[in-house]
């Protein structure tokens, strides 16, 4: 792909055509206040999700049967957070990261080491104090991994990141400091009390955690969206479309790739912090490699490069398996079949909509551009 052929896609996003009949096309044509109203409306609906079971007729269909709806919602929220973070790395900067769960584990383990009474350090910090440290450590680990490896091309990067996640898992399993499968117990919950003096964040009710997660997600979305529209985002775009051309045009590719990696790691670390604060206990079996591959599948299925797509992907990978749990077909719990069905869904979505369910407009154009270049079969 030469730079000349590429000039069309490298311009500012195309103006929304009046004939664009998708929902997004409609939204794009509305004046700013309407757009804000619609988005705020969606956010409010998201906050009300814990009560969806009370909606007549439809509500009970949505709510999971076998598991507490609040905890499922929380699970969805950290999967969505991870998907948004991975979308920065894969969707924006085009770096293939298969070991994203590694950063999630780094964040969670930092919290555990700083706060849990089981930790060898014996610090017993409160949860809130460990948050900035955990995020910083996760970001730092992203830099450490990225610095030697980001010179590598796409697929080489994939295997190296996969290796990174494996290394983290092995240390979690075997290093005495990280306690293997004995794990860390009594990790403190986030602070705060209800008016009647009981703790807001307890083991009894997962809903507050969901609201906390949702709020964090909204903040992260705002930050990531602004980044994408800044100089950093334009550099990512250039790197994704043609790294050599970007380099020649004066984009410092290594620097911006490192940024994408570090920001992605940061978000994953945040997810780990949330997870540790909710769960209260974690051990080495919490962080399996399949987990990060699942998140990657979610991002790509939803539509990589598009935040809405990443959110949809995160919801899909967390909600669908939980919804299947407890449904019996021919005497077998569908939960057992969840990954099997999931694989089928992944293949079908990729065959019929390779750009993802809600693709980014620019990525869809890149795809069309590619189609012109290859010889017909």
């Amino acid at each position: 792909m030469t730079a000349v052929e590429n000039h069309q896609t490298a311009q500012a996003p195309p103006p929304v055509k009046a004939t664009d009949r998708t929902v997004r096309g409609w939204l794009g044509r509305q004046p700013l206040p309407v757009r804000i109203l619609v988005i705020v409306g969606f956010a409010i609906l998201a906050y009300l999700l814990p009560y969806v079971g009370d909606v007549p007729v439809l509500g009970p269909q949505v709510v999971t049967q076998a598991n507490d709806w609040g905890s499922v919602l929380f699970e969805i929220s950290y999967f969505v957070l991870l998907a948004i973070g991975l979308n920065v790395v894969v969707g924006f900067a085009g770096l293939l990261d298969l070991g994203y769960v590694g950063f999630f584990a780094v964040g969670a383990y930092t919290v555990a080491l700083l706060t849990s009474p089981d930790s060898n350090f014996g610090l017993k910090w409160v949860w809130l104090a460990s948050v900035p440290v955990a995020i910083a450590v996760a970001m730092f680990s992203g830099l450490i991994l990225g610095w030697p490896t980001l010179r590598l091309r796409g697929d080489y990067l994939a295997i190296v990141t996969l290796g990174f996640a494996e290394i983290i898992r092995i240390f979690a399993d075997s290093a005495p400091l990280l306690r293997g499968d004995r794990g860390f117990g009594s990790i403190p919950h986030p602070p705060g009390n209800n008016p009647d003096g009981t703790a807001i964040f307890s083991v009894r009710d997962a809903t507050p955690y969901y609201w906390l997660g949702l709020s964090i997600i909204i903040l992260v979305i705002l930050a990531v969206r602004n980044l994408d529209r800044s100089r950093v985002g334009r550099s990512w775009l250039a790197i994704r479309e043609d790294e050599e051309a970007a380099e020649i045009m004066g984009v410092r590719t290594i620097k911006f790739k490192l940024w994408a990696f570090a920001i992605g790691a940061c978000v994953a670390g945040l997810g780990g912090v949330m997870f540790a604060g909710y769960q209260g206990f974690m051990n080495s079996s919490t962080f399996v490699l399949q987990f990060s591959i699942l998140v990657l599948a979610g991002v790509v299925m939803g539509g990589s490069g598009n935040i809405a797509g990443a959110i949809l992907g995160g919801v899909l990978i967390a909600y669908v398996p939980e919804r299947l749990r407890g449904i019996e077909v021919f005497g077998q719990d569908l939960f057992q079949w969840r990954f099997l069905m999931f694989g089928v869904i992944i293949i079908l979505i990729m065959i019929f909509r390779p750009q993802g369910v809600i693709p980014s407009r620019r990525r869809a154009m890149e795809l069309k551009d590619r189609a012109k270049e290859v010889a017909p079969e």
């Binding site: 894969v90 293939l96 030697p148 490896t149 010179r151 590598l152 091309r153 796409g154 697929d155 080489y156 994939a158 295997i159 190296v160 996969l162 290796g163 990174f164 494996e166 290394i167 092995i170 240390f171 399993d173 075997s174 490699l289 399949q290 591959i293 990657l296 599948a297 790509v300 299925m301 990589s304 057992q336 079949w337 990954f339 099997l340 999931f342 694989g343 089928v344 869904i345 992944i346 293949i347 990729m350 065959i351 390779p354 750009q355 990525r363 890149e366 795809l367 590619r370 189609a371 290859v374 010889a375 079969e377």
Partner: protein, 316 residues
């Protein structure tokens, strides 16, 4: 850290490592072949391997052999091994072909982005391994003891068992055959042409889709042989065995230079040996850490692996 132990038992560790590495190498060939032609990490290849392993077990099961059976007479063992190999090769080759036809070909027709291929590969891998998991109730299956380990060569503390000899020899024979096939036959030339430049190859009259199917078939064939050797060596199979081994095999392919057949051989053998050394020095659980650190170290200085990517070049 036990460096003294490493020096003391360098010989046995090397031989055991070579046997393990031979399996990695054969397994890695499938990744390397497909990558060389399609630029795709075929995640489903680990399940191609898995199907081969279960096929061999099922064939042996037909003769009501299980992990508690006694070792049959030598002639019978040879026959059973042949049958197992044939079954594994057929199952693996068929799995690889089905994945290519059902999952990848429709994507190629639509000019899907590379990421879509990767995710589809992951999906296919999930489907096959989970279906196996459901059918086997996620339990471990034992392998009949067809070959009772016996020393054929003893030299100081160096004992080479019959199984190790079998694995290494069989792997080298397969490798040599494949290398000749790619380098000297007409079909092999087609593969190299597509690997070098798919569009030019198509313009020169190479049937691209047939070459791609052939490549999947060849990779499956190698994985089938690797699977039989694996079950004989390890003695058990589980539905997720492919995934774990697949990561190492893929690492081996990348280490040697992905897309390069001889690279896969070198990478596989090297990884097997390094893994064994590392297990002795740092403890078994840390052996994979050393493997990945080695990979990162090599890629920092040789960004395309030890021998470089070159399936398309004349030298394979």
């Amino acid at each position: 850290m036990n460096f003294v132990g490493l020096l003391h038992s360098l010989g046995p560790l090397s031989i055991a490592g070579l046997a393990q590495g031979a399996i990695y190498a054969l397994f890695a060939l499938g990744y390397t072949l497909v990558y060389g032609v399609l630029r795709l990490i075929n995640f489903a290849h680990s399940e191609v391997f898995l199907m081969g392993a279960y096929a061999a077990l099922n064939v042996w099961g037909l003769f009501s052999l299980n992990q508690n059976s006694a070792t049959p007479a030598t002639v019978v063992v040879i026959g059973l091994l042949m049958l197992g190999l044939v079954a594994a090769i057929i199952a693996s080759g068929a799995t690889a072909l089905v994945v290519e036809l059902v999952a990848y070909r429709p994507l190629r027709r639509r000019n899907a982005p590379p990421l879509a291929f990767l995710i589809t590969a992951i999906g296919a891998s999930l489907v096959i391994s989970e279906a196996t998991g459901v059918f086997t109730h996620r339990s471990i299956t034992g392998v009949p003891p067809l070959i009772r380990p016996a020393d054929v060569v003893t030299f100081g503390n160096l004992h080479i068992t019959n199984l190790q000899v079998l694995i290494i020899v069989l792997a080298l024979v397969m490798m040599f055959g494949l290398d000749r096939f790619i380098n000297t036959t007409r079909l092999g030339r087609g593969i190299r042409a597509v690997a070098q430049n798919p569009d030019s190859a198509a313009l020169m009259g190479v049937n691209k889709n047939r070459v791609i199917s052939l490549v999947f078939l060849l990779g499956g064939l190698m994985a089938g042989v690797a699977a039989v050797m694996y079950v004989l060596k390890i003695g058990t199979v589980k539905f997720d065995a492919g995934f774990d081994l697949g990561i190492v095999a893929f690492t081996a392919a990348v280490l040697g230079g992905i897309g390069n057949l001889r690279g896969a051989l070198l990478g596989g053998l090297l990884l097997g040996v390094v893994e064994n050394y590392a297990a002795e020095v740092f403890g078994t659980e840390y052996r994979r850490v050393i493997v990945f650190v080695l990979l990162i170290g090599v890629l920092m200085f040789l960004p395309t692996g030890l021998l470089g990517e070159s399936l398309g070049k004349a030298r394979a």
